[in-house]
Amino acid sequence: MTGITNPMSGRDQSGEPLITPRLWLQMLAHRERNRLVGAAACGVLAGVQTVVLVVGLAWLIDQLVIHGRSPAQLLPLFGGLALTVGLRSLFQWGQEVLSAEASLRIRQFARAELLAKIAKLGPVWLTQRQSGALATQAVEHIDALDGYFARFYPQLRIVVALPLLIACVVGWLDYLVAIFLLLSAPLIPLFMALVGMGAERLNRDQFAAVSRLSAHFIDRVRGMTTLQLFGHTRSAQQEVWYATDEYRRLSMRTLRLAFLSSAVLEFFASVAIAVVAMYVGFGLLGYIDYGPSPSLTLFTGLAVLLLAPEFFQPLRTLSQHYHDRAAALGAAESIATIFNEPALVPHHIASPQTPGAECELANISVGYIGRKPALQAVSMTVFVGDVVAITGESGSGKSSLLAVLAGFMAPLSGEYRRRSSKVAWLDQSPCLIQGTMADNLRLANPEANEAAMTDALRRAGLGALLEALPAGLESVVGERGVGLSGGQAQRLALARVYLSTAPLVVLDEPTASLDASAEQAVIQALLEWAKEGRTLVIATHHPAIVHVATRHFVCEAGKLNEVIV
């Protein structure tokens, strides 16, 4: 990795410069500089072939029409031009393939980087986020960068080189036309800037309007149950139509201006053809007798006529891809905010200093940055084999304390030390991932074999379910497969703990929202783990679990106190 990417990886210390959307796009482009430059070069070379082709065509026509030669006499040139056509296609193909490959690699890299960052932010940060929105950022927003790297970025380089090259060729043929083109050239960016400034703002307004409208639609769909309950669906459906149509009416007003920028370019290209045609025609008739006009021939005349629109073509292509840039910037903006979040997960967890300790908290305070710490000056040593219950009102900081113990969050101050790198985690809403029963178990231990998995499921009380499942461990569970009830899901989470070799098990309210039999299964499991010699830390307010514990702590008024019985 080059020095430029450093701000991305080393952003945990505060005081690092924040990453801006533009800077991020630049850094990404830098990674695939060679391919992108290659694509631009191919684009310029394809443009050169076009120049050769139209100049050659003009010369052929001149030979056929004025000099009366037959096509057969000109066969070598025909052959040469056929080669040019082939080369042009080849370079166009090269441009497309190179830039697409660059874009693909950039997107893969950016996605991996984003996912790594999300992992570093950790579960505590994620609970405050909508997972759907994050998935959109990692999938759709990253893909929105495609147009920018595959089309806009190389085209921006082509625009600098190709028109100048064409102007040189035109200048060699007829300098008056070249002067005309060059004079109109600065006008284009000027006009484009004028229209573009308006259009960019309009574009942004448009984006806002589109997302507002989508939000309106989504809002109504989300509330469909309520609409149905109140018998309000028909009028809501009408409303959806009217809202979209109202948006159409409004946006047409803005589009009238936005489309001016493409009209300006179209106008210049068309007028250039018209002006050049008139100039060349009159020159050929001998009506103009200054400058290079008297020496005009059908060859030079046709060549400059055909080169005039080519002069504007790169710019027109660029303006077609302008919305790619807007889309990429919008996406980069939403992603850069994630990169700018400070990481919550600790870098490294040291080993405990007390002999026989599973983990220890040395004078730590826990809570969220920018808020008053939920717990302060907490020191606690958990020894191997301890069963620790932590109780306290909701909001007393016990969930934050557990997050520190599990390594999801670094303490605000003080030090947390732990013996093992792995922890088994269980909370009140276990997560089922998309996939099979086995995939869900592998989450705890990717190397586990079938026998171990079956055994773990049995011990968690899912033996009967496993036998009932048609494909056993390979049955798909969750949204797209067999649905599990809340109790079954919690038992699956228990099976994960059985499967894991982690010596420390951290449990956050494991029995909340469970029915009596599932609750009993959890308590049974706790006893078994304790017997196996695992260390347990449980946040709970369930008296039966507190009873099982060998040590009991209470979170109260920002302090953690041990209850000595």
Binding site: S70, D219, F259, F282, L298, K422, L484, S513
Partner: protein, 570 residues
């Protein structure tokens, strides 16, 4: 192939329903392209004619060339091209936005007919954003896949017909070769890229699921130290998807190169043949130049076709997803409850309910009778089957076995209007819409006066709060009611019920997120409003019996079974 067409058909019909707009839009695009071709062709003709006339003049020969008509023509086409492009873009975008309204209207219509289980499965916000993306895909269909091939075909016909005036043989060659090119880059490319682009849509969905897994299971992944394992899973999926994407890009790039090489070679071939015709005196110089330049410009009409058609598979995936909605939509029922003089008793007879794909039934053999105008409480932990029971009573789901009847009718058979008129339910998850407080309340009763709204707010102890807001009844509640606290949102939802006068009322956790004093106020207002109504309260547990006045039946749901509670277990 026929299956693909069948899936697309209803949407194509919708997109082409405004036939006149389609024809005018295509006409405008066609005029734009033709104006460009005419501008180039006429300019070439003019220059060649001038060159020949200039030579004649220099040689002292008489030459009569009208320079004003072609000159005027050139200026006209230059202007027409600009204006036509501008008008075309405005007109077609107007059409596309109108179609967007039509598409959303139709999809929304499908959704209004979905039953509760299907809706619940689709609650996730990522499903909703995908839904809008699918509609947008179809909307793009119009500008990318319907108008351009039509215009390209028209252009090739007109251009070859025009050339045929002087060079019929050349025209035939142009028509045949461009016709073949058209077939290859539209139908051929649709076929060639279909599997790849469909696969791409599938890959993207899979990637989304994997990312969602990483986010949702982050606690498990981090604690068990398996984050790296899961990220490897994602990157191996991406590698796999990249192979497919590369194939797609390669094919699209080949298509564009094909257009470029075919049109380029065609220009040379036309020049060759026209050059021979010129030598034989069958055509004059300026006409030959014109023909060559028209063919030189015609690639504009073909350029965008390969990359549009190669993605047909992705549009197909979108259409498939939307069509599933129309399949899932339940047929609406037809029974209307007689308006008055009914005794609205609730009766469940041996009712079981099992969600699709679930092994354990959500409800098993539940039976009870609640006489009209009586009140019951059903307690149970979440997942015990309370919501399912409520959905069955409201006719929003049909029991797997057993009978549900309300006032002697199966609620599922009632029309939506009739159900809405007689039943009311406070759902566990309240839906507030992005709008003002008044708008949200008027969903229950569009004709309600401000006074009625204030009274309803008073009943849920929100009127003081609303009075303090700068916009009073026009206070925005925000998307999903986010401007309000959870408890306030529930109270607004409850206030909506107070605006109606149903006969059967189901209340799911009416006092959740409300402090004791407010709860007492609401309970008092509820007691008054619930007179003569048949009522079931669904609560986690009964904390305070004072909040549930007049309740005669206490039932408890546990693991799908209904147990009669003799007393209050608080």
């Amino acid at each position: 192939m026929r299956r693909v067409y069948r899936e697309f058909k209803p949407w194509l019909a919708l997109l082409l329903r405004r036939r006149q707009r389609f024809l005018v839009g295509a006409f405008l695009v066609w005029v734009t392209v033709l104006a460009g071709l005419s501008l180039l062709g006429l300019s070439g003709w003019f220059i060649a004619a001038c060159a020949l006339a200039g030579i004649a003049l220099a040689a002292g020969l008489p030459s009569s060339l009208d320079i004003y008509v072609p000159g005027g023509g050139i200026r006209f086409f230059a202007l027409l091209r600009t204006v036509a492009r501008y008008v075309e873009r405005l007109y077609n975008h107007n059409t596309v936005l109108t179609l967007l309204a039509d598409l959303r209207f139709r999809v929304f219509g499908y959704l209004t007919r979905l039953d509760d289980a299907s809706l619940r499965r689709r609650r996730a916000s990522d499903w909703l954003s995908r839904l809008t993306a699918d509609i947008d895909t179809l909307d793009n269909f119009y500008l990318r896949l319907l108008i351009p091939p039509f215009v390209a075909l028209l252009c090739l016909l007109v251009a070859s017909a025009f050339i045929a005036i002087w060079l019929p043989g050349v025209a035939l060659m142009v028509a045949v070769s461009l016709g073949l090119l058209w077939l290859v880059i539209t139908l051929g490319y649709a076929w060639l890229g279909f599997a790849n682009s469909h696969q791409q849509a599938t890959d993207q969905r899979e990637l989304r699921h994997l990312v969602l897994d990483q986010v949702q299971a982050s606690a498990e992944l981090m604690s068990y130290g398996t984050s790296a394992w899961h990220q490897r899973k994602i990157s191996s999926h991406e590698m796999h998807a990249a192979v497919n994407q590369r194939r797609l890009t390669l094919k699209a790039a080949l298509g564009n190169a094909l257009v470029s090489i075919v049109t380029g070679m065609l220009v040379l071939a036309v020049l060759w043949l026209a050059g021979i015709a010129l030598g034989e005196g069958r055509v004059n110089g300026p006409i030959m130049v014109m023909a060559v330049l028209i063919i030189l410009g015609i690639n504009e009409a073909f350029n965008l076709l390969p990359s549009a058609f190669i993605k047909l598979g992705a549009s197909y995936a979108a259409v498939q997803r939307l069509n599933i909605l129309s399949v899932n939509a339940v047929s609406s029922a037809s029974v209307v409850l007689p308006p008055e003089s009914q005794t609205y008793s609730l009766r469940l007879n041996n009712v079981s309910f099992c969600y699709p794909n679930m092994f354990e039934p959500a409800l098993s053999n539940v039976s009870f009778v609640l006489p009209a105008a009586k009140r019951a409480v059903i307690t149970g932990v979440s997942g015990a089957g309370k919501s399912t029971l409520a959905q069955l009573l409201m006719g929003r789901a049909s029991p797997s076995s057993g009978d549900v009847s309300v006032a002697g009718f199966a609620p599922l058979k009632l029309t939506e209007d009739s159900r809405a008129a007689h039943f009311a339910m406070l759902t566990q998850q309240v839906d507030l819409f992005d709008g003002s407080l008044a708008e949200n309340l008027r969903i229950a009763k569009p004709s309600a006066s401000n006074k009625e709204l204030w009274r309803a707010l008073d009943q849920v102890a929100l009127s003081d709060w609303a009075q303090q807001q700068p916009y009073k009844l026009d206070t925005p509640v925000g998307e999903k009611g986010q401007q309000l606290s959870g408890g306030q949102a529930r109270r607004v939802a409850l206030a909506r019920l107070f605006l109606r006068s149903p006969n059967v009322v189901l209340l799911d956790e009416p006092f959740a997120g409300v402090d004791a004093q407010t709860a007492q106020h609401i309970a008092f207002a509820l007691d008054d409003w619930l007179q003569d109504k048949t009522v079931i309260y669904f609560v986690h547990q009964v904390d305070d019996a004072n909040l549930l006045p007049g309740v005669e039946h206490y039932w408890r749901l546990a693991e799908g079974q209904l147990i009669a509670d003799t007393g209050i277990d608080s």
